[in-house]
């Protein structure tokens, strides 16, 4: 498989030959940040377009068709509209926190985005606590949401933020348990190492029953984590106008919107990394020619293919299920997902100890 570190090392050496090492590192940081943010925005645009088209297909419609061929330029028009809108400052709001909140949300999702392994060697942050770091960064986005609700000085925002806090913090637990199941199976927390270990079979096949159960629980909890239907209580339109971002306008609202879509991408990408092998092609141990053919498809295609498939599944959930009631949300988590997750973790541990994995 093509290793992207050859490109990055070449750039590194080129920069080091031109300037002192400290400057080279600063330039590299800026380059990486620019590329990551650009990729972040591009994926957000692709996702918004995909959401509209998939939603339309599930409702037997065509979706946007007018702006550009098949409505391809619709999202760009929307983004442009969002950019030229005024950012309204709310009277009697806590203006510092009010302005800080969207940046916290975006920062959390960009940091998480940087942990994703797009292809072999194409990963910004990779160290031995990868999964742990990923959980930490993805969960402080809820802080931004809570601040947004609090500082808006609006009761709907406040209720939305409180619901979001209660929901995201409790579903974090299920996500943690599912990740722990995979970590138990692999014995490592480093993301590149996790992907590397799936070279003979993906974890969902290696860990068979407990891994599949963990995958399903992860998808449910991940859906709740991104505040999307059927877990869209924090911004339930019919109850709370728009929930925590009711008072936001212009690009501040745009940040929440983009972060929400990118959180969906991140949840799907993590699911594909942990369970479906990330950028690792479909390998079946024993069939060498088959594995060879699969290797010709680049890793990034595998990664994005799996990720967008999971995104499609999550959108399928969204446009199928009705919204949960506020009392049903903690019931599902604490009475069903957490106990099942704990038992599942125990089963996985037993499987690993007894050597019942593939």
């Amino acid at each position: 498989m093509f290793d992207f570190t050859t490109i990055t090392t070449a750039i590194d050496q080129f920069l080091r030959s031109m300037m002192p090492a400290q400057f080279a590192i600063i330039v590299e940081c800026i380059l990486v940040a620019a590329c990551a943010l650009l990729a972040y925005v591009m994926f957000a645009i692709v996702m918004i377009f995909m959401e509209r088209k998939v939603c339309a297909a599930f409702q037997c419609r065509l979706g946007p068709m007018r702006v550009g061929p098949w409505g391809l330029l619709q999202v760009f028009a929307d983004v442009f509209k969002m950019l030229i809108k005024e950012i309204i400052s709310i009277n009697r709001s806590d203006s510092f926190l009010y302005r800080l909140a969207p940046y916290l949300v975006v920062m959390s999702s960009v940091l998480t985005f940087c942990c994703l392994p797009f292809a072999k060697g194409l990963q910004v942050l990779d160290f031995n606590m990868g999964v742990f770091f990923l959980m930490a960064t993805s969960s402080f986005g809820v802080l931004g949401i809570l601040l947004a609700g609090w500082s808006s000085n609006n009761k709907f925002s406040m209720i939305g933020a409180m619901r979001s806090g209660a929901q995201m913090i409790s579903y974090e637990l299920s996500i943690g348990l599912c990740m722990l199941t995979v970590v138990t199976l692999s014995g490592t927390m480093q993301i590149s190492e996790l992907v590397e270990q799936q070279h003979d079979a993906w974890f969902i096949f290696k860990g068979h029953l407990p891994a599949m159960l963990a995958f399903v629980i992860y998808l449910i909890a991940g859906n709740a984590e991104t505040n999307r239907a059927p877990f869209d209580l924090p911004e339930a339109e019919s109850e709370l106008t728009a929930g925590f971002h009711t008072e936001y306008s212009g690009m501040h609202f745009g940040f929440f919107y983009v972060a929400e879509f990118m959180n969906l991408f991140i949840v799907a990408a993590i699911a594909s990394t942990l369970f479906l092998g990330g950028w690792m092609p479909l390998h079946i141990s024993g069939f060498d020619t088959f594995n060879m053919v699969m290797d010709y498809i680049p890793g990034i295609v595998w990664f994005l293919g799996k990720t967008f498939f999971i995104i499609w599944v999550l959108m399928w959930f969204r446009w199928t299920f009705p919204r949960l009631r506020i009392d049903q949300v903690p019931t599902l988590e604490w009475k069903y997902l957490v106990p099942i997750g704990l038992v599942n973790l125990l089963i996985m541990t037993v499987c690993v100890v007894m050597g019942w994995t593939f």
Partner: protein, 148 residues
């Protein structure tokens, strides 16, 4: 207590019902989409035969209509959309006088497409067609003379 009411039973029952819902939407995902892309598909656009867009008077090849100028449509219309102007002519052979239609005026701008006039007509002399592109720039253009 039945199995489906127990904790474990609820999990299986809930999963089954969620999968049923997913199956319904998946089928919908792959069905042909119903959206009509109107201005582009004008050539192939099919409006339902029962659609009521505009009142018209079916004419035969000589331009004759079946109207007997009875005025039932005019009195049936709740909005006063229809005005039937008549004149009395004397039949030369029998010598009897008879009402004939002079002018049948229909104000599309007032019509609420209730079809009461069509139902009232004893001779099926009027009907609704589905020429629905009725936008004009002047209200007076909506007042139509239906007979030749």
């Amino acid at each position: 207590m039945k199995f489906r009411d127990t904790y474990i039973g609820k999990i299986f029952n809930g999963t089954r019902s969620l999968l049923t819902g997913l199956g319904v939407t998946l089928k919908e995902f792959f069905t042909k989409k119903v959206t009509e892309q109107y201005p582009e598909n004008r050539k192939t656009l099919k409006i339902s035969d029962r659609h009521r867009a505009m009142l018209y008077m079916p004419l035969d090849e000589n331009g004759n209509n079946k109207c007997i100028a009875c005025g039932l449509c005019q009195s049936a219309c709740p909005n006063g959309t229809i005005t039937v102007k008549t004149k009395t002519v004397t039949d030369e052979e029998t010598g009897k006088s008879k009402k004939v239609l002079l002018e049948y005026t229909y104000d599309l701008g007032c019509c609420m497409f209730c079809q009461l006039c069509v139902n009232a007509c004893p001779k099926d002399a009027i009907a609704f067609n589905n020429h629905f592109e009725n936008a004009v720039f002047d209200r007076s253009k909506l007042v139509l003379k239906l007979n030749k």
